[in-house]
Symmetry: C2
Subunit: 332 residues, 2 copies
């Protein structure tokens, strides 16, 4: 009989955030079964002290979207860190330059969420144009038998053949475009540079795009260049029949201006999965029938959570076995 060699201890993974997938107990268990998971949010000790006590040898970090800023202050306390796996597609909360300087690899959710986010963008758009949430409220309140539909609503707006401007034609923007082409919409876009891979009309100026469109869909990443990209001037160009959809990040729109435009009927409606200071919601928006709001849940589907879980575990496995990461952050 050969001597039993004890298995090596499971590798250690620090989790900050914690990511949405951990709300599903099965997925948290999947991590617990495979790694020794450090969960500072379960400790009464302040975060930095926790890291200094427990994470000096930790080589891998999983960073949820709820962790506000991963920069040198935190990284200074993680001297052994070799990889950050971000559970979001947006990286505005990660100091990539600082990670690069320290030789820390970064993986992220990549395009895994793109179809879900695009689906919600289209859903919010149809909802705003066709007044679905208002219609649902009308029917469920029980007044359909006593009040005519026609008397209760202004007519809705057709989607087909509308001119749709996509701000940011990355993976999500392209999924939105593909979907809305099937509704016979005319697609054009604004992004940092013209894409040779598509035939949609390109606008280097977002205000000019808005002026030529009925609908604006915000799909770009949030960074210094896109913060408040949608100014008062852009909303003015979109005009009183225009509709804006945002499934990207709240701060891309100047929200104070947006609220005023909606209140004054200077644009026709909005569908917003994200807000500038979420979860805080301007009370004015809650009173408007032509505004549909959702709680930043564009990626909250069973299927995407399962896929994300597999991708995060796959990236960690790759890191610990010195293989290439599955979804590395590309050099900007």
């Amino acid at each position: 009989m050969s001597e039993q060699v004890p298995p090596p201890p499971p590798p250690e993974v620090l989790v900050l955030g914690p990511p949405g997938i951990f709300r599903t107990k099965n997925y948290e268990k999947l991590f617990d079964d495979r790694f020794r998971v450090l969960k500072p949010w379960q400790s009464p000790v302040p975060l930095f002290q926790f890291l200094q006590t427990h994470a000096q040898n930790t080589r891998a970090l999983v960073c949820g979207g709820g962790f506000k800023h991963l920069g040198s202050e935190t990284l200074d306390r993680l001297p052994s860190l070799g990889v950050v796996v971000v559970t979001a597609a947006g990286l505005n909360h990660i100091d990539l330059q600082e990670c690069r300087r320290r030789g820390i690899a970064v993986a992220y959710a990549s395009t895994i969420f793109s179809p879900d986010v695009a689906d919600l963008a289209v859903g919010l758009l149809i909802d705003v144009l066709r007044r679905i949430t208002a219609g649902n409220r009308f029917v469920k309140s029980g007044i359909w038998p006593v009040k005519s539909v026609e008397g209760s609503y202004p007519l809705a707006t057709k989607l087909s053949h509308k001119r749709v401007g996509i701000v940011g034609l990355g993976s999500i923007g392209q999924e939105v475009a593909k979907r809305l082409e099937a509704f016979d919409c005319k697609i054009s876009y604004h992004s940092r540079s013209k894409k040779s891979s598509v035939s949609y009309q390109f606008y280097s100026d977002v205000r000019e795009l808005a002026a030529d469109c009925d609908i604006l869909i915000i799909c770009c990443a949030l960074n210094d260049q896109t913060n408040h990209l949608i100014t008062k001037e852009v909303l003015e160009a979109l005009g009183k029949h225009g509709v804006i959809i945002n499934i990207a990040r709240g701060a891309i729109i100047d929200q104070k201006e947006l609220v005023q435009f909606l209140q004054e009927g200077r644009i026709a409606g909005a569908g917003l999965d994200v807000l500038e200071n979420e979860p805080y919601v301007p009370p004015e928006l809650c009173e408007l029938n032509n505004v549909v709001l959702s709680p930043h849940f564009a990626v909250y589907t069973e299927e995407s959570f399962r896929d994300l879980c597999e991708l995060v575990v796959g990236n960690l496995d790759a890191f610990f076995s010195n293989q290439p990461l599955l979804s590395p952050v590309l050099k900007e």
Copy 2:
């Protein structure tokens, strides 16, 4: 100076219904400017008496979707009738055989509404799968800052790659299919006969279609063959993860069974623009978060009303000038 010949009196048009477009005063005016319009709903006289008194010479009738049944009882009182222009795409309220027997031509809305109805079908579907109306209520009620999204909802369901079964692959069904292909859904269908023009999988048995699908979308006409086509057995085959969308006519689904399946979680959700005894709504449906209801307003867009108005006027003009109708009802 030539002698002035008085213009001929405008042709007379009887309107029954009255159609939704008449709720828009501009469109009613457009008819009034062009025709001498008989509007029995404005008269205190009972309908049949009104027809006997005023409509003995009337050659053209515009019939709104709200007129419950156009059959021999009404037609007997309109001896000069030559054309019926129906303002709906569905003809279940028109006795076509009786019209044919009397040599009365029939025109209808044809495919004019198909894109709008298909758009609403997709909107209701995304709404049910992604819980948009529930999310909107959550955010607008102001509890987002105090209650986590994850704790408040089960995860939503992804649309991409779902198997969609379309019941009735006419003009609306094909528009729905075209849109959902762009969401990478797998389309199959049930109809009276296999269509040689499409490559989607055909099911001669609607129960088998339901068994092989995640989503069922009802797009067929209501007639003797499709009344209660969606039985308890079909819903059972669709199963507890299945979702059903109905933008056709309420009576195509056995509504009593549907309500029970939804209440007991034996199907996952429903999006219904039509109900069996609308505007009366089963109160059980109003309490379910996984049910999105709209008040049979799939065609209520500014653009479709304008297009319908033009089509109805165009058909009347064609009739009065002995030209072929623009949108005749095809021989079944």
